[in-house]
Each structure stands twice: as structure tokens, then as C-alpha cells.
Symmetry: C3
Subunit: 461 residues, 3 copies
């Protein structure tokens, strides 16, 4: 419904005669954009400003008065001014008494001030019912009507009725209000628009680092080594062959890193004999970004699938294949079917397909709308049981891919093992430790610890 | 939770003894279906009807009385009758005074009447607390229990308490109420069920038109031309080869059309020196359906990927390949590896993979549940930065695909250039203009204009 | 916003001085975990317990008092104790009068008691305002901060203000409250965390059964038969070839089973001449799990696509292809292009691609966040029109795949037809019956029946 409301609004301007006047303090860009949108939605708007001469910028139909006069005309006053100028409101305390005062301000930095702007405003004008709202919407979005991402308006405030009034205005503008509770939530609401994927920074930086390392590793083994020893120019491997080695390696390592903190946490709890001690900080942070790590891993796995499926289309692969056939013909010999090879090739591909399939399933269940429709038991089942199955399948995929090559000396160039061997270290470690933790002698005490039991209750004092 | 609630309800009928009686005016199909569902959910139901003899159609357990008698028995009255018969309610004004009157009606056309049915009802029965609800649910869905799409019930009304009462009934029926604010929202709510993908019409029509044009274009070049000049029957190209030319072309053009209006808007703003003039109507509409354009482009890109990946499975491709190898053998010559070709082939494929990958990422972030969890800054980052990167990668993919063929005269048949050349026009234009707009001499004034600055403030009066 | 709130909370502990004291009855694991989280979020917490000596397990900063003393200190009391111990609350009735009493308990089985725990509590302590909440959150999730799936807290209660108070606490803990209406909803809320994909059981069991049947069927035809008659070891077909036969068969059958109940319902309604009789129970249940059936079908279709696209990478396929080419060369003959074969091969692949593409589209529209943004008319259009088109395309894909092989006796081994022939039975039946139902002589009465008309009104009495 929401996505189309703005154009429906345009078709139904006849609803304009019943709305109550809204006052906007401040004629800056955001104040004007908000006023413009409100007039469109049928609200009489009055601006409160230091200079009361009507500028051409003020939206048509709005009045400009002094702050005091404007505030008297409306029950809802929106303060579209910056925090440092809030002090001018002190003389207006009496006029604002009992009125709804909407704080729309934002900061430049996260947690810039000790208290939120809205709480500061509530202290300055004690009699007013302060409501925080609209800070997540941009002036440009209001102006242009392209409100795709920003339909959600977080609203908080201590007065229920004032909050309801503001939420009705939000809805009338074609936006979606989200009640965030009391004014204490304002700090969080003010921090929200300043974030840029905070939970994604670590996973993305980590994967860039790993990708760079493995890129040069593969470059040495697959491009520089044949150039030095066989004088062959395989520089075009940079386009597909090397990325198709990096992607599966990163996907496997990152997937294992999703499950490693859980295993570490279990070991720490077993060692301490209690769950009532906080984990080290790095472990806490790591656990909180597991979902993001998993999704980055899924991205690399998807790229690996695409890179693999285009193999038969590549010029180099076609050239190599016809060369092989031609040399077979010229030598007048035909290979018989090697059943072991057929088994290895097919089962490695099949394991990869099943692993990727489950991985995509995990990704789909982590979509907010899907995970919201799932209870805790179901979520645990998917993310833990299916997750470990995915890890097992992907590790097996890599192991079978290695096949007979593990011990062959020809796969070591300059003493460097094949890159995929390095990728197996962490997943195998995680799976082995997890397997050990399943044994009853460890699983039972762990379960009891997680239910609140303590080995040494006095230890924790 | 919601998806399973109806069958849980069936298991828990013991909650039936506490609900308050609900009255339904009208024994038509929708009234009966609603009554049936309410009785299932434990509400005593009384029907108000002109003829009070109990028909076999009335759900078991419901009483049928005259309108006046029925209304007196309940605090909530649902008017399941058509707007043109509302006038019979005027004599009941006194009985309905202070009661909750729920309007469930729909219209046949968008904006059929000057005011919404619910507002009309509120004028007719001034003392009643009118609430709009249930109009988005169909009788068939209520009857059959298959409520997948229609769980959401939009509710609006001027009286908070009446709205809460209705929302509780909605929840008890296993549906999800959505508070849409005051009764002014009723018009929009009544228009909602009449829409059929209004924002998708233009993108889909446009892509059908373009697809038809390029289909005949490719048919002439790839089927009719070889038939006329070489007498070869390539009619089977219609199944895969030609669609696999049309899809990437359409994907690229539509993707460029997503970014073209933004570029045009910037030029218009720079020329006018202000952002406070409305854009031309066509530009406004175009900007509002950018998301849909992008998703249609993504659909074509996905088809292109599938069509491309099946290439090596096709009989024709296998036949051509073995023919080539056989002719090489018979001529007793082997081609050496052409590194330039390997580079061109691999980098064109790699660019395509990366472009498609980013495109899918853009598509995922446009899912409502994902974009709701993203703030304005993050949304801008994804849709603008990643979006342009996608456009650059896809354009480069097409350019490298062209490779050396651009100037070769053999690629012109009947003076018609290859179809992919035509697809490059708009994307290249958009990228060039965007590149120019990044220069500080244009970017600075544009940023200031978007922050509300005006070159000629008097001009706008 | 939600996903990041917990770590933002950690950065903003200065909001702790304004919260009102909350009392928690019970010092078990869940009580302590909830208390811990509340203290973190700035609430003064007091525990009510039988033994009032402070154990080391009690979160730091919390007081432990007798039940009566603790209850007097707070306006909100959370009863984190099991239902069988509720009786100890009876003596406290007076102290709890007018207070908000939050029931967080869960049961071990679905519908374990005749009334919900919260309703039982409300009967025991008649003066208290009982609110159900927090039962969907686990102690472990509260403790560890990993609240991905369980952010949603269902809240219900008869007192609006009490509910609002609890919802504000829920929000302050970084969770999302969902108002579920009156206390009658408690039964459903208590059943919710006990479910494990209830709607998925039937589709998954069905597909496992079918998969096992077709696995052995294909094993006999494709592995055992050639081993017995030709002494060839094709056991490696188990990895990819046989799954790639099972997956499309299951996808097609399950997709047809999505549309079969609708067709059966239409026949039953036509036969009965009314829609006011309930369908047989099995049909009702079948109709309710159509979405899940469709998604399982989509999963099999996706696997089929992956298995098909890796065909050219498989060792066996490459070996067979080069063998064919070599034998052609050695026999010194080249095959000419067979246009019929090219048509068959290309159109079968193209039908599969289009069918899969539409299938994925159907899957995307069944995502909760997408289907919530779509009205009833749009949903019907997608799920019914596009759904049947998908079924037609997929059936045609299989028919064309069969091509000339249907009547060839060589495709019968041990009198067993090819597995794909079996998969065509149900889809063809559904399509034929649906086609018949479209004829006006059947469609018209059906439409009238669905609008509420009855052939024999007296029949239904």
C-alpha cells in the first residue's frame, strides 16, 4: 500500500479541509520541504521565523509569523532548527505549555552530546510534550517524492496522546510511523541515520584482506611460476581462473568463521563452568556479526558458482579441449572410461551443488521478513543444524576436489601448496571441535551450564 | 505466527465464551462470510436484515433480526451493504449513537465518489464512531481460510478507542490490523484493492515494445538474411539465440533508463538554478517508477544469464563444436592459443558476472523487508554508488563483447549494425553526462542547489 | 534499526536513571537472564524469591526480597515461574491489586492446559492487570545478545495501559513488541514457540517419499539394468544423473499438486451447487499447505537447474563427447546439422528456462514482505494466472524433452517407462480439467456459486 500512496494522494486533494494547523519553527531547507509536503497533504501550515517577511522560498499557502504568534496558532509545533539555537525557545515556555513539540534534529556524529537533542529540548521547555520524529527522512526525499527507503519514521515520546497525534501526521504524509517507546529512545533514533552498515565493516574488511592475500598467492603459483619455468603467458587467468579460486576459498573460510565463535564460546563456558561471565569483548563482537559474515560468504559462494558455470563457454577451455581431442586422434588412441574419475568428478560437483543449495536456503531465512515469521526453535534448527550441514558439505566438496592431489608433489610449486588446502584448515578445525563437543561427557555439562548451572558457584563472586 | 494462526484457532475453540456480540447489517455474501469467520473465532453474531426469516445461508449459530433490534444487541455494527443503500441508516441514527460502525465497502472504480464511503457514512450517522476496515479481504478468502495475501487489514477512524476495538476483532480473526490514522485515509484504503500493479504498467509496456522491436531486428539479421543469401535454415534461433540477444539488450537499456531521469533532473536544476520548481510531469512519473524499471531490467538480465549458461548443452552448439574439431583434424592443423582472444573472452565474461552479481544485490536491497532495515544514507549508497558501478560494469561487458567487431564491415548486414551496438547508446550517454556532472565546477553548484540555495531567488516569484 | 540496537545501547548507558523499578518473581535461569538484560537497559530490578539471601547468580545491582516486599516496590511484576507454582500468588492478591502482572511462561506441549497460563493467572489474581509477553524469547538469547530471530515479542492483555507499559519495556530492551490483542490470544502465543515448521511437515514427508520411490525406479532402469545386460558400471550416476532425474520429476508433480486441490474444490462446488458446505478435511488441509508445496517444488526445480548447468563440466560427459568426436573422425564421416533436432533441443531448453523464471517469480512474491505489499487482486493474478502459466510451461518442457522417445520401444526397460513419463500424469490431468472448467457452461455457474448463489437452497438445510 505504502509504495503507491504518494501518487494516490495527488489524486485525492479534496481531503484538505479538515486537518489542523501545524506550526514549523525554522525556514531552513528541511523546514520548507516538510511544510511543502504538509500543505500537499492538506495541512494548514504556519512558519515561525525571526524575520517574518515572506520569502519566495516559503511554500505557497504557508504563513510566516514570529515564533510566538505562530506557536499560538497550532497545537503541534515542529522545531526544524539546529540544537545550538534551541535556547531561543526558553522565553516561549509559557506559550508552548501543553503543546506537542516535535524534535526533527540530527547530529553530525554518533553520540555527539551526552543526552539526545529531544531530551535536551524537553529539559529546556518543561511544559511541552516533546516527541522525536522525522529525523530519518531527508529534505530531498520529501521534496522529490522518492521515498523508497525512508518511509519509516521512528517516533518516540513520553506522552501517549502527543505521540498518536504525531503518528497520524506521519501517516497522512504517506509515511510509516514506528513507535519506539519513551523519549529515552531518542538517542538511538538520532544515531540511526548516521550509520553506514556498521555491522558489515568487519566482515567486508576481513574478506578484502583475505582476498588480497589469496590473489597474490594464486598469482605466484598460477601465473608467475609457469611464466618463469615454462615461459607461458597465463596472465588472462586474472580475469576468471584466479577469482574462481579465491571465491570458494573465501566462502569456505568465512562460513567456518561463522561457526568458530560458537565453538569457542562453548569451550570458554566449559572451562569456566558457568555462563554468567561475560565473554571477552572480541568474542562478543564476533558473535554479533555472524549473520553478516555468513552473507558475505554466501556472496563469494554465488560468485564461485557463476564463475564455475561459465567454464565451458570460455575460449581457453574450448581451445584446450579441442587440442586434447585432436592430439588423441593424431596419436590414434582413445581413453577408456575411468569409473573412479567419474565418481570423483560427479560427487565433488554434487556435494558443491547441495552445499550451495543449503547455503542459499540459509541466506533466504536470514531475510528479515522470513526470520520474523519463524520462532526461536525453528530459527535455531535452520541456523544451527542446517548451517553445520552446509559447512560439512562445503568442506567435503573441497576435500573431494582435492582428491588424489593432496600428496602429489607436483601440486607444490615453490613449496607452496595449492591454495584450496589452506582454506581447509579452519573448517576442519571447527568441525573436529564441534564433533568432540557432541560427546555426552562434554555435551551434558555444557547443556547444564547453559541452563544456569554452575560448577563453582563461589568462584563467580 | 500469522500463517499458522487459522489452524491453531481450530484447535482452541474453548475461548468462545468471552467475546462480545457483533452485529452485521446485510446478509449478502461478504456479510455471511464475515459472520461465519466471527462465529468460528468465538464471537456471538447477530445479523440485521430487512427480512428476518432465517435463511439456510445464514451461518449456524447466528440470529437474524430487524436492523434496529440487531443494532441494539451489539456495541460494534458492521455495515456489509453497498453505499447506495446507506440511506436506510438515517432512521437508525439514535440507536447507532455512540456505537462503533464499521464500513467494509469497496467501490468499482478508483475515486468513484468525491468522498470515501466511510466519510459518507460518518456524515449520514453523525453520532456513530465510524471505522473503516476489512475492505481488503475477500469473502472467498474468509470462507476458504486461504488468507495468504490478504492478512493485512487496513483500519482507520477518528475515534481511538473504536479503532482499538475493531483492531482487536481483526486480530481475533487471525488477521493483521494496520492502523492507517484518521478517517481521511479511508479514500486511499478504498482505492487500494482496485489497483493492479499500477507502477509496473509503464515499465512492462515499454519493455514489451522494445522486445518486439529487437525481436524483428534480430530476426531479419540472423534468420532472414542467412536464409536469403546462404539458403540456411536458422529458424530455430527463435527459441534461444534471439532471446539471448534481446534480453541483455533490454536489461542494459532499462538499467540506463533507471539512471537517466536522475541525470536529467540534475541538468534541469542546474539550468533553473533552483530546486523549488516542480519537474515536468513525465519526469516525476518516470522517477517514481525507477525501482520497477530496475527490477524488470534485472529480470531480463537473469534470463540472459540462464540463456547463456545453457549454451554448451544445446545440440546446435555441440554440433558446431565437433564439426570444427573434425575439420581441424582433417586439415591436419591445430590452432595455437591466442592470448588476446583468451583475455577478451575471459574479461568479457568476468565483467558480465560481476555486473550481474551487483545487479542481484541491488535487487535484494529493494525487497521491502531489506530496504526497511536500511537508513537513508545506506540506501543512497547502495542504489546510487553500487547502481552506477553496475551500469559501468554492464556497459563495459557489452563493449568488450563487441571487441574487435565494431568496425568490421562483415558485422553489418543490410546496413543494419549488430543489435548490441544499438543497446549501447543510452548507457554511454548516461555515463558520459554523469561523468561530466562529477566535475567540481558543476557538482558544487548542484550540491548547493539541492541544499536549498537559489541562483536567482527573485526568479521564482 | 533493530539489528544494531543492542550495541548502540551499550554505547548509551547514561539513560539509566529514569526507568521505573521492575520486580521479577523467580530467580531461575530465565528470570535472571531477563533481570540482567533489564539492568543493562537501565531498569532498577528487584527479585521476589522464597529464600532472600543474595546468590552469586543474581545479576549485580539487583535486590532480592520476599515476594510481598518485592511486589510492593514496583508497578510491573514479571512472574518468571512455572504454571504449577502459580498458587503461591493467591495470598499476594491484595498487594498485586491494580499492578501489571506479566506472564512469561511456556508449556511443554501444544494446548497442554484447557486455558492458557496467562488466563489461569488472571483468574488466580483477579485484581491484577495480566499481560502475556516475553515467552518467545529464550534465556540464552537474552544472555548472549544474539537475538536475530527472536526480536519479536508477542504481547497481549485486556488492559490497554498495562499493555503499553509492557510494550515500552520490550522496546527498551531492544526488542520489537507486537500487539496481539486481548488476553484470549495468550493460548496462541503460548503455542507459538513449540512449533517446528508445522505447515512444512506434509510437503516435506511427501517429497521424501516420492524421492525415495523415484530413486529406486531410476536406479533399476539406469544402473542395475545396464549392469545386468551390458555389464557396465554406471554406479556414479547416483551422484548427479539420477538426482537430476528425480528433481525435475518431483518439481513437476509437486507443482501440479499445488493446483490440484483448487480444481477438486471447483468440481465439488459444481457438484454440490453451493459453496456453503465445508470441504472434506483432507482437502482443507491440502489447500492450506499449497504455498509450502510450491516452495518445495521450487527447491527441486532449482536443484534441477544447477544439476543441468554443470553437465558440460562433468568428466563423464566430456569423455563421452570426445569419444563421439573421435569415432566420427575415425569413421571419416561428419553429421550434417539436423534442424528438427536443433528445434527440439532449443525449444525444450527455452521452455524450461521460461518456466523456471516464472517459478522463481512466484517464489519471490510469496516472500512475506512482498506479498504484504500486494493486494488481493494482484496476489490472485500472480498466484493463479502466472502459476498456471508456469505449470503449462514446465509440462510442455517435459513433453518436448520426451520428444520422439515416447513411443520408441527402446525407452522401456523391463517394461518400465522412462521416469519422466510418470511425472506427466498429474500435471496433464490438472491442466485438462482446468481447461474444461474454463468453458462458459461450467465457468458461469461456478462463478455464481462462488458469489454466494445456490442451486438447491433447501438442500443445505
Amino acid at each position: 500500500m505504502n509504495k503507491n500512496s504518494s501518487n494516490i494522494m495527488a489524486l485525492a486533494p479534496n481531503t484538505s479541509n479538515k486537518r489542523e494547523t501545524v506550526c514549523i519553527f525554522g525556514t531552513g531547507d528541511f523546514g520548507r520541504a516538510l511544510g511543502h509536503k504538509m500543505i500537499q497533504s492538506g495541512y494548514p501550515v504556519v512558519f515561525g521565523s525571526r524575520s517574518t517577511k515572506t520569502s519566495s522560498l516559503i511554500p505557497k499557502g504557508a504563513e510566516v509569523l514570529s515564533h510566538a504568534e505562530a506557536a499560538q496558532k497550532a497545537a503541534v509545533i515542529i522545531t526544524a532548527i539546529q540544537r545550538q539555537h534551541y535556547s531561543f525557545l526558553t522565553p516561549l515556555t509559557e506559550i508552548l505549555h501543553g503543546k506537542v513539540l516535535v524534535d526533527v534534529s540530527n547530529n553530525l556524529k554518533i553520540n555527539e552530546h551526552p543526552e539526545s537533542n529531544a531530551e535536551y529540548l524537553a529539559q529546556l521547555v518543561p511544559g511541552a510534550k516533546v516527541v522525536k520524529a522525522f529525523n530519518t527522512v531527508s529534505a530531498w526525499a520529501l521534496q522529490s517524492g522518492t521515498l523508497d527507503a525512508s518511509r519509516q519514521v521512528f517516533v518516540c515520546g513520553d506522552d501517549m496522546e502527543a505521540k498518536q497525534t504525531v503518528m497520524n501526521i506521519v501517516r497522512a504524509l504517506g509515511l510509516t510511523p514506528l513507535d519506539q517507546g519513551s523519549l529515552l529512545a531518542a538517542q538511538e533514533i538520532e544515531n540511526y541515520p548516521l550509520q553506514l552498515f556498521p555491522m558489515w565493516k568487519f566482515p567486508i574488511l576481513l574478506s578484502f584482506g583475505l582476498a588480497a592475500f589469496f590473489f597474490f598467492y594464486c598469482l605466484i603459483r598460477n601465473v608467475i611460476y609457469p611464466y618463469v619455468y615454462e615461459n607461458k603467458d597465463f596472465s588472462f587467468f586474472i580475469a576468471i581462473s584466479i577469482p574462481n579460486r579465491i571465491c570458494p576459498i573465501l566462502a569456505l573460510i568465512l562460513l567456518a568463521l561463522v561457526y568458530l565463535p560458537g565453538v569457542l564460546a562453548a569451550i570458554i563456558q566449559l572451562y569456566r563452568g558457568t555462563k554468567y561471565h561475560r565473554f571477552p569483548d572480541w568474542l562478543d563482537k564476533w558473535m554479533l556479526c555472524r549473520k553478516q559474515l555468513g552473507l558475505v560468504a554466501l556472496a563469494f559462494a554465488s560468485l564461485h558458482v557463476l564463475y564455475t558455470l561459465v567454464i565451458p563457454i570460455r575460449y581457453f577451455v574450448r581451445w584446450r579441449m579441442s587440442n586434447r581431442i585432436i592430439s588423441q586422434v593424431l596419436n590414434n588412441k582413445t581413453e577408456p572410461l575411468d569409473t573412479t574419475n567419474a565418481w570423483l568428478s560427479d560427487s565433488y560437483v554434487a556435494l558443491g551443488i547441495l552445499g550451495f543449495f543449503l547455503f542459499v536456503l540459509l541466506g533466504i531465512t536470514s531475510l528479515p521478513s522470513v526470520s520474523n515469521n519463524v520462532n526461536w526453535r525453528e530459527f535455531r534448527f535452520v541456523q544451527s543444524k542446517l548451517g553445520y550441514l552446509t559447512l560439512i558439505l562445503c568442506t567435503a566438496h573441497t576435500l573431494v576436489y582435492g582428491g588424489k592431489r593432496f600428496l602429489s608433489p607436483s601440486s607444490y610449486r615453490w613449496y607452496l601448496p595449492n591454495a584450496y588446502m589452506l582454506s581447509l584448515i579452519i573448517p576442519c578445525m571447527v568441525l573436529v571441535v564441534k564433533f568432540v563437543l557432541i560427546f555426552p561427557c562434554l555435551d551434558k555439562p555444557l547443556t547444564r551450564i547453559r541452563q544456569g548451572w554452575e560448577r563453582n558457584p563461589q568462584y563467580s563472586e
